[in-house]
Symmetry: C2
Subunit: 697 residues, 2 copies
């Protein structure tokens, strides 16, 4: 779909210039110098020829067809140029020019105009305000960066031009090869979603890297990413905070969610490896583009020195990888070839007195072990061993055992330079610090787990839509976006949640009578649409052991709440069946501006915001994702039955999460929702309290 | 005290060799080549002269006095050599030779022998099995590494030789200067404590770096470190897990502590900056050795590109640093000199179209702002700006504003090489990734906080020692190391803990009667020295609302517990006053093998092990440290009075922690102790349950 950007047969450089200091000269020169094999047409009304090529006054003057236009014009001339591109039938344009959204209000208006015009001509646009596009396999360098990166398997897109230039520069020394390189600039038309899709089926791309600051359409992004990451790894660094901003939040879920949690959840659910730093981004990409993804988590640490081996083993212990246990044969054969003071068990320390030939023999034994899926080969400078020789050994063994992942940690400076070159030639990534090598291997392992995960669709938990529609419509009509407790109960009951029996009482006598009927102990809760956090104002009393106690509690509560919240409308209080035993969890949902409904799970009660032991997923969720939400929290250990307690009915919680997922997907006008607590008993769940806020408008 | 190791006037190289391939040749050559200004005596009975120097058959044959002996002999000859050193009156020896503890049982025996011999002659030893010692200020390179590091302010010691060689190699390219460099080898005599002490008063050392795998004497280490870190930063990477190993643990505290928590606490309490990776270790050391420690946490991000600036600001937000707010004047003066599309607020983005002169003017404005204590100067490759020119600007401004900390992030590869050189010449540390620059600045800020902290001594909370002695003696006599509940209550009561009233009952009738006397509701707890986790076996019943209920509960409990633990001795049960309201915390102590009594604090109840929201400190603690223990946990927010609840009496908890600290310092035979829960009420604390285990023997 984007082939004219990456494999054009002809390019018009609109704004090509004769003056060397101009960008329009540099870009034309870069295209020619890199050896672009197709036709190139400089467009400049004031020149006859530029850099030996015939120049044209306008793109329409070119006789042959043009597949890609590169615009390097002052912003105010871009609109007319795009119009002419449209008339000429060009369908792809890279707009390098700045002076649009990034430059203030006038520029933003110009960009909207540009977008309209491009759309009307069906021209796809990368940019404006970007560095351009590179395809190393097509010898296409339509950027103003003079040095295209080495050819390789990585496709890269970036929403920051500076990150692009830094990376192009790094690539020269880091032995990292790229196939495609896209600076997205203002991200006006072609988005990260389009690029993911284009790179997914690109045989010249083995790993996709991205730097993003925001996502245009969260749902589309997840859908495409989920497909792409099954085939090849996508590593993204996401910077900056976006999202809801200063909106006042009323729910626990709302206050805990934040846009970063939405991104984190979305990335997890679509198999994207999130890099936390630029260093991670490149470290992980390098390994993924050179080595096979490990088939399992078992790592061997192989070293000619003890200290670094321990550091590496420590890092493995902290990760989701595991230290491999060697077979009897491996240990015996290591014993046969290594000095007596060597460590034969994982981590292997062959000791500093050993030469390259023994390094080779011993490392081969470790690679042969069937319980080993990845090896971190450490080499510290030692008197008797030559770094470059060890590098050759590691490189050759990596080729021989292609199905095992080999990562190197050659520590040191100048004496390791040649060694690092040799490793690069053999496609063995090297990280000078052992901890980083482990982190990279762990990321690769996560990619393996994702690719092997079975695909599932969300199950259907449709509820009684009609009832919910009616409740929401009525609440809106009555002008309250914070649903009253009775309304919230109706909504969740319609989606299959069990509730404790509950009756509204408006005076002391009816409180006493109702407590009698429900059966003590009962709970008393203030009934008011204006009070969101009832326990904060003394609006909840638990464990009332007799009807009389309930009556007294009613009087006290009315007095206290009226004093604390004199403005609130108070309908009375609910006398509620008291649910005893089990554990309390919180289920929540909040509408994220980029991804839509976001679900939350955590251990319930009033401390949820303090302990922050919660997990998030973008709705809708599958059964497996609901399980993961629970298992991600520390509370999982409590729910499983910590310290000999009876385990609660976790399946019921998993179902409840899916019911909630269905509800917020069916009613996207729900802005925030807390079910807190949801009591989890050995035989099911009961939603003890619920709060729902609707989106305005 | 160690001056003969670092400033000897004369050295004997015992085992100096004529053959070039021998270590004994290399070391002598390194000493001479580096230009050691003192006398050097090769000792070798089979040579007349080596490398142009007269050789001696033994150290005793040297006419003049010798201040340092360097031994490069086969292990079996070292003992005699040390004996001769003693006779010659040499008081310092570096033993390079291997073949000792590291090589198995025979070697370990030889090392013990060597230690005895050295001690008898009062010879201080570094090694054996080490790389040697370097002092760049004395032109002393008594190692077999040919390239000593550049001269500088860092003193380094390492328990791993491989880490030493790697670092010596790195130092060549990383622009990191060292003054002293010690490979500790087997750590037989001179320890990390001795070296800390020696470096503390060394004017040539501004930063102390260390790599350690274990500590010989934890308390001595903390005491010295606490003093040293007040004067200069100490950055240590600690690898490997040591400690208690497989000892079965009976308490929550025991199961949560682990040796890494002890190290973490000890480092925190003695002001040591703990590096998590080697990369951290060097990154932080480099900045500390070149820039001033920032006087406050306020950071400005100054960049010629938006993307990296956002990444840096994100990292600041995640750290304990703060983004500085610029003064009105700063913003106005930035507006006056920068293009309209620049970002004038922190992070400052001067944009890519700006040249060096504007970079200088604008960065100077930022440095002038009184609200700015540190600046991260980011430079991404841009068309119009020259990296090395920007580096010069940053370097010169850093000199001009010496009291402000300037850290650089010049991103890119080859085009930045010269720039990075220029930065190094100007003593501005450079980190190619913005996140790392922020991490380094944060570590420097922690050092500042530590240095400004007021010193305090632990307060005296002595209790009734006599009573505790008596209880512990009796328990030992009766052969139970797990104290019975009544005993544990006596112990903590003797140190000022309040306890709920509690009476032992042995049958149903007395249970009923006692409940009547104590006043319902009461708590019933099984009384048995063999049951540590009472609630796990149904041995705790709360909220018994009438004497009859208490009687029934007693019968049921006896039956249930006997069924579940038929082997346990059951003395009956305690009828206990029920403490209501307040919050429950856990206080604990466990004896760490390296550091002695280690204290724990956390939110109490049965989930403490699951939520792991706990903090640790090595006892004894000061008042301030007790406060920190509380504030470090998430539970702090709960105790402060989350969600409008009344705050509890935190001062009482702080005092309780100090009482506990005193108790375990006074009775180091206490192996594990849990006070769980400690109820914290608005007016004090009540220790509801306590368990104590004594060390055997």
């Amino acid at each position: 779909m984007l082939e004219h950007f990456f494999q054009p047969r002809s390019i018009a450089v609109i704004g090509a210039a004769r003056e060397e200091y101009k960008l329009g000269h540099g870009i034309l020169k870069n295209i020619l110098q890199y050896g672009f094999p197709g036709k190139v047409y400089p467009i400049n009304p004031k020149a006859d020829s530029i850099l030996g090529l015939k120049a044209y006054p306008g793109v329409k003057a070119v006789e042959d067809s043009v597949e890609l236009a590169v615009l390097v014009l002052p912003a105010e001339l871009c609109l007319q140029a795009i119009d002419e591109c449209g008339q000429k039938g060009i369908d792809s344009a890279v707009i390098i020019s700045g002076g649009f959204k990034e430059s203030g209000r006038e520029g933003a208006e110009r960009e909207r105009e540009l977008a309209r015009l491009a759309r009307s001509h069906r021209i796809k646009v990368i940019g404006p305000n970007c560095l351009g596009v590179i395809n190393t396999y097509q010898r296409l360098n339509a950027t103003f960066a003079a040095n295209p990166p080495p050819r390789g398997d990585i496709a890269f897109f970036s929403q920051s031009g500076a990150i692009c230039t830094a990376i192009l520069d790094w690539a020269q020394t880091q032995h990292m090869g790229f196939s495609k390189f896209v600076s997205m600039g203002n991200n006006m038309d072609i988005s990260e979603v389009d690029l993911l899709e284009a790179f997914a089926d690109d045989p010249e791309c083995r790993v996709i890297l991205g730097y993003i600051e925001g996502i245009k359409d969260g749902r589309a992004f997840m859908e495409v990413a989920r497909r792409v990451t099954r085939k090849k790894p996508v590593v993204i660094i996401k910077s900056g905070s976006t999202g809801a901003g200063a909106r006042a939040v009323g729910s626990h879920t709302g206050s805990l969610a934040g846009s970063d949690n939405a991104f984190r959840a979305a990335f997890k659910q679509s198999g994207i490896l999130r890099a936390e730093t630029l260093e991670d981004l490149f470290g992980v990409a390098h390994a993924l583009s050179t080595q096979e993804i490990p088939v399992g988590p078992q790592v061997a640490i192989f070293s000619n020195a003890g200290g670094p081996a321990i550091l590496a083993a420590d890092a493995v212990e902290r990760s989701s990888l595991r230290m491999a246990s060697f077979s009897r044969e491996t240990v015996d054969s290591l014993r046969a070839c290594l000095p007596p003071i060597a460590s034969l068990y994982n981590p292997v320390d062959i000791t500093g007195g050993v030469k390259e030939d023994i390094y080779r023999v011993a490392m081969e034994k470790v690679l042969k072990d069937e319980g080993v899926q990845g090896v971190i080969a450490i080499n510290a400078p030692q008197a008797v061993i030559k770094g470059e020789e060890v590098a050759r050994v590691v490189g050759e063994l990596s080729k021989k055992f292609r199905s095992k992942t080999v990562i190197a940690t050659f520590m040191g400076g100048p004496t390791m330079e040649t060694a690092v070159e040799v490793l690069a030639q053999h496609q063995v990534p090297n990280y000078p610090f052992p901890e980083r090598a482990v982190a990279v291997l762990e990321a690769m392992h996560l990619q393996r787990q994702w690719m092997e995960r079975s695909t599932e669709r969300p199950l259907d938990f449709s509820g009684d839509r009609r009832t919910v529609e009616e409740v929401l419509r009525k609440a809106r009509q009555e002008g309250h976006l914070n649903l009253a407790e009775a309304e919230a109960r109706q909504v969740i009951a319609a989606y299959g949640f069990s509730l404790p029996r509950s009756f509204l009482v408006t005076d002391k006598d009816s409180a006493v009578r109702t407590a009698q009927e429900v059966g003590c102990p009962v709970v008393l809760k203030v009934a008011s649409p204006d009070i969101l956090h009832k326990s904060d104002v003394g609006g909840v009393r638990l464990g009332l052991n007799s009807p009389e106690e309930a009556g007294r509690a009613f009087e006290e509560m009315m007095e206290r709440v009226r004093k604390r919240m004199p403005e609130a409308h108070i309908h009375g209080a609910f006398v509620q069946e008291m649910v005893r035993g089990g554990k309390e969890v919180i289920l929540g949902a909040v509408k994220d501006p980029q991804f839509g409904p976001l679900l939350m799970f955590g251990l319930g009660g009033i401390y949820v915001e303090v302990l922050r032991d919660v997990s998030f997923r973008v709705a809708p969720i599958t059964d497996a994702e609901a399980w993961e939400m629970i298992k991600e929290t520390r509370a999982y250990a409590v729910l499983k039955g910590a310290r000999g307690e009876r385990p609660v009915d976790l399946k019921a919680v998993v179902e409840a999460l899916q019911r909630l997922s269905q509800l917020v997907m069916d009613f996207t006008e729900i802005l925030e929702l807390d079910i807190n607590p949801l009591a989890v008993l050995p035989g099911g769940t009961v939603a003890i309290d619920a709060r729902i806020t609707l989106a305005p408008g």
